[in-house]
């Protein structure tokens, strides 16, 4: 989930109950206040009638348009009645409207100067109050939603403004490839935390770059330095074989040493090649007809592996042009083909073909390989004796040209798919 969405969800979770509770409290406070006002007005009306009754003045007409009504009862000198005041809710029939409405009723008993008791019931229909309450309710609801929406919009705006350095850093990290340096790194912003984050990120990446550089140089230098002692060893063994009288046993031993030495030489050469590819030391590019290259190489391999009865079918268009270094193109193709030939069982089948913009090398096999480690150095499965660097070379070359190489296993076939996206 995006950070913004997380923040909004959390804000909503925190704000909704608080605002809802606040709205409920506000609503009931308003209701209370409105009831209070209504009761005050009832009381005022009752007082007016009482005062007029006691003063013997004319009482207000009932149908005066206010929908208020009253009933005045003379109770005489009934000692059981005491002066009182009581509010209640009930239903009354209103003549003007010809319908029954909920009403607030004030029942009060009072006595005049002679001690005669009166009972006054003042009725005030409450439909106005209901209207008022519902209006208050809707206003609060709208206000509530408006507040939530405003908070959200403000949050989104503030978020985008404040988080810009973070997104710049993320964007930079996404396009970052190790070994390519720290160019165009986002500038330090004024916010302390972001400045620290970006400065630390820059420091870490610079350090990693320097390690990477050192490691590359180390591999390159070590491989170069090894060449001379390897030459010494090889030449001395060769001299022994050529110039001294050796027993068959001695010669056999020397021969085995030479074989091991050859493996060492090959390994060293390949490591050097990998280091050079990763260092981008093959800058020249040309339009290479990969299809033609594959056809030639496949023929050579068919010749070398003729004894194993492997069928190799190359089904490619006449021209399939990759823009890359010619030397690397050859290494790329030979290693993919060599891999296919080397790991196909006797009598197996190899096919090279395209689907859309994908070049596929397929060969027979019994079980899937570990696709996460397949393009790593020294990953070997089953067969021993090879350097375990062939596919690492393929991976390295693909990486340097941003080509996508994928491995999959389907119905007894290893598939190496190369996306060339032309």
């Amino acid at each position: 989930m995006k950070l913004l969405n997380t923040i909004l969800v959390r804000l909503a979770v925190a704000l909704l109950p608080i605002l809802a509770l606040w709205s409920v409290v506000f609503y009931f406070a308003m209701v209370e206040e409105i009831n209070d006002e209504a009761d005050d007005s009832l009381e005022g009306y009752a007082e007016l009638i009482m005062r007029r009754t006691l003063a013997g003045k004319e009482l207000p007409a009932v149908g005066d348009g206010t929908n208020n009504s009253y009933v005045l009862e003379f109770l005489g000198h009934d000692k059981s009645v005491v002066p009182s005041m009581q509010y209640s809710d009930s239903l009354v029939y209103i003549h003007e409207k010809r319908e029954t409405e909920p009403a607030r009723v004030l029942t009060t008993c009072f006595s005049d100067a002679d001690g005669a008791m009166y009972r006054l019931q003042v009725v005030m229909p409450t439909f106005e109050r209901e209207d008022l309450l519902s209006s208050v309710f809707w206003h609060i609801l709208v206000l509530f939603l408006a507040i939530v929406l405003t908070i959200f919009l403000a949050t989104i705006f503030v978020f985008h403004r404040s988080m810009r350095p973070l997104y710049r850093l993320l964007g930079w990290l996404e396009q970052y490839t190790p070994g390519k340096g720290v160019s165009n790194f986002p500038a330090s912003p004024s916010v302390v935390e972001f400045r620290n984050l970006i400065d630390s990120a820059r420091a870490t990446i610079t350090r990693a770059e320097s390690y990477f550089e050192q490691q590359k140089q180390f591999i390159g230098n070590a491989s170069h330095e090894l060449q001379t002692p390897l030459a010494v060893l090889g030449n001395r063994i060769e001299w022994l074989l050529d110039n001294t009288a050796l027993t068959n046993e001695q010669a056999a031993e020397l021969n085995k040493m030479q074989q091991a030495l050859r493996r060492l030489v090959r390994l060293n050469r390949t490591l050097l090649l990998l280091a050079k590819i990763d260092n981008g030391q093959f800058p020249e590019v040309a339009d290479v007809n990969i299809a033609e290259l594959i056809r030639e190489e496949a023929e050579t391999y068919s010749e070398i592996y003729a004894g194993r009865g492997i069928e190799c079918v190359v089904d490619l268009p006449q021209r399939l042009v990759f823009r890359m270094n010619e030397e690397l193109a050859t290494i790329f193709v030979t290693n993919l083909l060599k891999n296919a030939f080397l790991h196909s069982p006797g009598g197996g089948k190899i096919s090279v073909y395209t689907t859309g913009s994908t070049l596929i090398f397929a060969n027979s096999g019994s079980e899937a390989l570990d696709s996460t480690r397949l393009f790593h150095r020294f990953y070997k499965q089953g067969k021993t004796g090879n350097t375990g660097l062939g596919l690492a070379l393929v991976g390295s070359i693909a990486r340097s040209y941003k080509m996508k190489v994928e491995y999959s296993f389907n119905e007894g076939r290893h598939l190496f798919k190369i996306g060339f996206g032309i």
């Binding site: 170069h224 330095e225 060449q227 001379t228 002692p229 390897l230 030459a231 010494v232 060893l233 090889g234 030449n235 001395r236 060769e238 001299w239 074989l241 050529d242 110039n243 068959n248 010669a251 056999a252 021969n255 030479q258 074989q259 050859r262 493996r263 030489v265 090959r266 050469r269 050097l272 050079k276 030391q281 190489e297 050579t300 391999y301 010749e303 070398i304 592996y305 003729a306 004894g307 030397e327 290494i331 030979t334 060599k338 080397l342 067969k383 021993t384 004796g385 090879n386 350097t387 062939g390």
Partner: protein, 227 residues
């Protein structure tokens, strides 16, 4: 034929000297830039083997120096670097060949022969062993004057052997040099056996005085056929 070996590694320098002397060359050696400069100034060599990564000076400068003296010395660069760029740079400066470390003495010897042959302009790229004649340019082989047709790989194998008469050639080394990077240590060398078998048969049928002989069961040697 006089050679100068300029190589800073004492052990490699010594074995190169010894191996090339046993092939009949007069060999001198130098281990440093100044030592080499001295020798080049004082003497003339048919072929100079130059390690371009000398500790006290760039070997390529030495190469420029050799070429500026214009004494007609042939130069073979020996280098731990084997990229095409390095080779092109060396050859552009006038080196006659470029050999990457590690190399086989047999390979070195063959390169020296080839460079020296180019030195004597009259001789075309023709090689001879017993009654076998091989022309590198026309890719034709004849035994006792009559053409022997060979397939492409058979020719490459014969050429490889003819450059190394008397040397033991390991089948893996042979395979590597004829088939290049295509072969792998994990391969068996059935394809080499098959090609060699055909080549031997063709040479024997033509009554060649030299042929490929199996040695100890590990490799081959190109030598005179015992009557």
């Amino acid at each position: 034929m006089k050679l100068l070996i300029i190589e800073d590694d004492a052990s490699l320098n010594e074995i190169m000297c010894r191996a090339l002397r046993s092939e009949g060359y007069v060999v001198e050696s130098a281990a440093t830039f100044f030592d080499a400069e001295d020798k080049i100034a004082g003497y003339s060599y048919d072929c100079i083997l130059l390690d371009i990564m000398l500790p006290d000076g760039n070997g390529l400068k030495l190469l420029e120096h050799i070429k500026s003296l214009d004494k007609g010395d042939r130069v073979i660069i020996i280098s731990a670097r084997d990229s095409i760029d390095d080779k092109v740079a060396g050859l552009d400066l006038g080196a006659d060949d470029y050999l990457a470390k590690p190399f086989y003495i047999a390979e070195l010897s063959a390169r020296i022969k080839s460079v020296l042959r180019r030195g004597s302009a009259a001789v075309s790229r023709q090689m001879k062993a017993g009654n076998i004649e091989l022309n590198i340019d026309s890719r034709r082989v004849s035994v006792a004057g009559s053409d022997v047709p060979l397939l492409k790989k058979e020719f490459d194998i014969l050429l490889y052997f003819m450059q190394r008469p008397g040397h033991i050639v390991d089948k893996a080394v042979l395979a590597e040099s004829v088939w290049g990077d295509h072969i792998d240590a994990a391969d068996n060398f059935q394809f080499v056996y098959a090609q060699i078998k055909n080549l031997r048969k063709r040479l024997a049928d033509a009554a060649a005085t030299y042929n490929v002989k199996a040695v100890y069961g590990f490799g081959y040697k190109f030598c005179e056929v015992e009557p």
